[in-house]
């Protein structure tokens, strides 16, 4: 990394002085991105471990005596919250966003490097608070990741009467502060710091996706923040925002007049856009990868951008499709079912344009491409089952069954993770200057792709049967046959294998850092700017003396008349050979 104090374009760069400034309290967006990735992957591994504990109980009930009902629900809750917020949101926006926005837009760093650094450390603090809840008496909250009151702040739910729920809510509040600092940075950088020639409609789709996801986050997270603060008040100060008259443990509690459904509205006003906060960056990664590795221009760029904007807009008026049977005014169902199914149209357009990009292409089956194609199949599957659950009356028999578990894991767990892995394999050479091992990558891919499908696909069918989700044990119920227990065993075995396979990825990451083949400067032959830097990996300030100038859109593959099958964004017409 360039250690010299540098002045570019009349502005002094942030100037790291020594190891701490360069690697720990760094203001360089690339270092901050890596910090986000490492912390997110570490807490994500914890989340995966918790899911395996859950699976052990479901597959082999009673085998581990330490997994009692209380700790099972704690595992469920922390698994969900960690994966959605602390892994995927942080990794996509904090990790990919930080790394790619300045590099792809041709600027030297984020608009506010110091705030960017604070954003990471606030995120780190939120993770610490979250993890701390494992070590308090009565443990972390077991309220389910939706944290619905009244149960989330009452005894009878693990951590409800202890510090668990308070730490959870405090951690979320800190996370939202971190997100806001990062988010304002991403928005400002995209709007203000683009290289000459980089018009909005020449931005790579992943930047559009991260930009819009950030926008969603900045508008949606405040709803969660106020919900969390009001819930802390209800718990600590005994206000009654969400608490009606309650009779519990043989006595009437000191609450009255509040509405539990109000919290659900606040939660899902955040919660549904949150789905897209995760999905949009995944869409972005796929848009990049599919074009680069199929050596073909992305199909229908304009339509893709407008579809993204439509999705981001409609994402704010579909939230109550999580609440069809929650006791809200039932006539709202007509409205929310209609908006929810409308959002399927722009989403379908995204899928069509990805698959049409493959038409008459020149498809390289690299590891990133495998992840890309697997994403398409999985996302298609998970997206289509969303049409069941969004469609109000169809949701009634399926709501809160394993169909829901199957659906949302397909669409917002497996799909984004496949995109994430594709992205990690794709940009690893840019970050480290070395290639990942291909064979290990393929082994990891096959186990993950097939394994996750085997885990989540059958869940839809026990959902048809009516097996409710969030059950510690099914043994009491006569309508649930023995075959469900057998299936649970099978799923647990698959989950253990898939879980173990993730260590192949970690191993590959660590070993390739030292032993991986040295990566050429632009190993995939991509048009976007992050591969066109002076040094590879890019140094501090990214571009040396001269900022790049952009002459074309980011998907110039197969341009007629050019000898090469791609033309980078910063190559002017007269230099095309």
């Amino acid at each position: 990394m360039d250690q010299n104090s540098a002045t570019y374009e009349g502005q002094k760069m942030y100037d790291p002085k020594g190891w701490w400034d360069t690697y720990v309290f760094s203001q360089d967006h690339k270092v901050i991105a890596l910090q986000y990735v490492c912390v997110a992957l570490a807490i994500g591994l914890t989340g995966m471990f918790l899911s395996l504990l859950m699976r052990m109980q479901l597959g082999f009930p009673g085998l581990f005596e330490s997994i009692d009902a209380g700790s099972y629900y704690q595992d469920v809750t922390m698994h969900g919250m960690i994966m959605v917020i602390y892994l995927l949101t942080a990794l996509f926006l904090g990790g990919f966003g930080n790394y790619l926005i300045p590099l792809m837009l041709g600027c030297r760093d984020m608009a506010f490097p110091f705030v960017n650094m604070l954003s990471f450390w606030m995120y780190f603090l939120s993770v610490i608070i979250l993890v701390a809840s494992f070590f308090v008496e009565s443990g972390p909250t077991g309220a389910g990741w939706t944290l619905y009151p009244p149960q989330s702040i009452l005894e009878g739910t693990p951590g409800g009467d202890g510090a668990g729920i308070i730490l959870m809510l405090a951690s979320l509040a800190v996370f939202i502060i971190a997100f806001t600092m990062g988010g304002l940075n991403y928005i400002t950088t995209v709007l203000q710091s683009r290289a000459k020639g980089m018009t909005l409609m020449r931005m790579p789709l992943i930047i559009w996706c991260i930009f819009l996801a950030t926008f969603l986050g900045l508008l949606a997270f405040p709803a969660l923040l106020v919900g969390a603060i009001m819930l802390i008040f209800d718990r600590v100060l005994e206000t009654s925002f969400f608490m009606p008259e309650i009779f519990k443990g043989g006595e009437v509690l000191d609450y009255g007049g509040g509405s539990p459904v109000l919290f659900q509205h606040l939660f899902w006003f955040f919660g549904h856009p949150e789905v897209y906060i995760i999905a949009l960056p995944a869409f972005g990664i796929i848009s990049e990868l599919i074009s680069v590795h199929a050596r073909k221009n992305i199909f229908g760029y304009n339509m893709m951008v407008w579809a993204l904007i439509a999705i981001a807009g409609i994402a704010f008026i579909v939230w109550a499709h999580h609440m069809y049977v929650a006791g809200m005014n039932p006539y709202l169902g007509f409205f929310f079912a209609t908006t929810t199914l409308i959002i399927a149209v722009p989403t379908a357009i995204k899928v069509y344009n990805w698959v049409l990009t493959l038409w008459n292409a020149n498809i390289k089956m690299t590891v990133p491409m495998l992840y890309c194609l697997a994403f398409l199949v999985t996302f298609l599957n998970g997206g289509l089952t969303g049409l069941f659950l969004g469609n109000v009356a169809v949701d009634v028999p399926l709501s809160d069954t394993y169909f829901v578990v199957g659906h949302f894991h397909m669409v917002m767990a497996v799909s984004p993770v496949l995109a994430l892995y594709g992205g990690l394999y794709h940009w690893y050479p840019s970050v480290t200057g070395r290639m990942l091992n291909d064979t290990l990558g393929k082994i990891h891919f096959w186990i993950t792709f097939i394994g996750t499908y085997l885990i989540y696909f059958p869940m839809h069918y026990i959902g048809f049967l009516g097996v409710p989700r969030r059950y510690y044990s099914n043994e009491q119920y006569d309508f649930i046959p023995q075959s469900v227990a057998d299936l649970n065993q099978f799923i647990t075995v698959c989950a253990l294998i898939v879980g173990a396979a993730q260590f192949i990825l970690l191993y590959n990451f660590v070993v390739s850092l030292y032993k991986g083949a040295i990566a050429p400067k632009n190993p995939w032959g991509a048009c976007t700017l992050e591969w066109q830097t002076l040094e590879s990996p890019p140094g501090h300030g990214n571009w040396g003396e001269q900022l790049p100038v952009v002459y074309r859109w980011p998907y110039e593959y197969g341009l007629p008349g050019a000898t090469s099958d791609f033309v980078p964004q910063n190559v002017p017409d007269e230099q095309i050979t």
Binding site: G70, Y148, E155, P244, K248, L373, N381, Y461, F464
Partner: protein, 358 residues
């Protein structure tokens, strides 16, 4: 090529699975067969989309593999094709949405001539109330709940005196009769769900929600709570028995009215049913969230603290009033304290537990 073969197997397997799956809708026992139809419509339409798009992907992968020196076709836009696809998708979405909205209209419009039942949820038992001979429910209030007045009924309301109270989790319904459930909760969220009836609705404390269906098959069905409600969620099992009209009337006549329950003395069995103790403490010897009560009176109990105590009247009373002080070994410290029970009620519970060891 491996990708094409494996993915083809996955896609074909996904479709075929619908014909061979050992798990499918549980046998229908209500009027809501149309909900099953909407699921089938959705399966067909989404299935077609899934197969067509997947097949297109696989075709492309086979047909356009990378060849050194080859170049892909340069086609950034094709507005006509994009418009066509958008229209087809919109038609598919309308075909899904129309039956869904129609079914929802049926679902939310409550029939007027129906039998009325109130369903009440609490951690972790179900109870029910019928309006009684006058056909009118008595007023309730969240402030009036007590271990005796478990429905929070206003004792001064004349309409409430004849309300019939079903405590203990088993309710009977007459066959081929529309039933409207008015649902409320005493403590946290719950969800009344009988898989064979398809219908489902949350119970929310502080407000009322509604649900209606018409049982069409005689039999006994399980109620499973479908909204997470705390540690005992999975154990919140109830039973609905669908009877003939006559059997139903006989059963209903045998149930106590509100006035009768208020005049009862302390009855241990009744108290543990209404407080929901039995959701965690079985009376048949099976293990649950807490230790069973069967054959436990007078035995030694190892505590999490390492001590050993004898299960006697004192231990039982302390465990109810201050459960955290004496957690049994091997069980989670999750039991709520029942600090407001009277001495008479505590003794009655102890006496009842004693009878389970005889």
């Amino acid at each position: 090529m491996a990708f094409v073969i494996v993915t083809a197997i996955i896609v074909i397997g996904t479709v075929l699975w619908n014909f061979v799956s050992p798990w499918w809708f549980s046998p229908l026992a209500s009027n809501w067969g149309f909900l099953d139809t909407t699921i089938l419509i959705s399966l067909v339409i989404t299935g077609i989309a899934f197969v067509l798009i997947s097949a297109f992907i696989l075709y492309c992968v086979v047909k356009f593999p990378y060849r050194e020196g080859n170049k892909s076709e340069y086609e950034p836009e094709n507005p006509a094709l994009e418009l066509k696809l958008t229209i087809i998708t919109t038609i598919g979405v309308i075909a899904l949405l129309a039956p869904g909205l129609y079914a929802w209209k049926l679902y939310v419009e409550l029939p007027v001539d129906a039998l009325e039942v109130e369903g009440v949820g609490q951690q972790w038992v179900w109870s029910y109330r019928f309006p009684g001979e006058d056909g009118v429910y008595g007023n309730t209030s969240g402030r009036l709940f007590s271990s005796k007045n478990t429905f929070g009924l206003d004792p001064d309301d004349p309409y409430g005196q004849d309300d019939i109270l079903i405590r203990g989790g088993e309710v009977h319904l007459p066959i081929n009769n529309k039933v409207v459930f008015q649902l409320r909760s005493k403590d946290v969220l719950h969800d009344f769900y009988v898989p064979q009836f398809r219908a489902k609705m949350d119970l929310v404390p502080g407000q009322q929600s509604n649900l209606w269906f018409e049982p069409t098959v005689l039999g006994t069905y399980e109620v499973a709570c479908a909204e997470y409600c705390g540690t005992g969620h999975y154990a919140m099992r109830g039973v609905v028995v669908v009877d003939t009209e006559e059997d139903f009337k006989t059963w209903l006549a045998g149930q106590p009215t509100f006035a009768e329950t208020m005049n009862e003395g302390a009855n241990g069995e009744q108290i543990v049913q209404t407080l929901g103790c039995v959701a965690c403490h079985s009376i048949d010897g099976s293990d649950g969230i807490g230790p069973t009560w069967r054959d436990t009176y007078g035995t030694n109990r190892a505590l999490a603290s390492g001590e050993t105590v004898v299960v006697d009247d004192d231990y039982i009373k302390t465990s109810i009033v201050n459960p955290m002080s004496q957690i049994a070994e091997g069980y989670a410290p999750v039991m709520p304290a029942y600090a407001t029970l009277s001495e008479e009620e505590l003794t009655a519970i102890g006496d009842y537990i004693k009878t389970l060891s005889e």
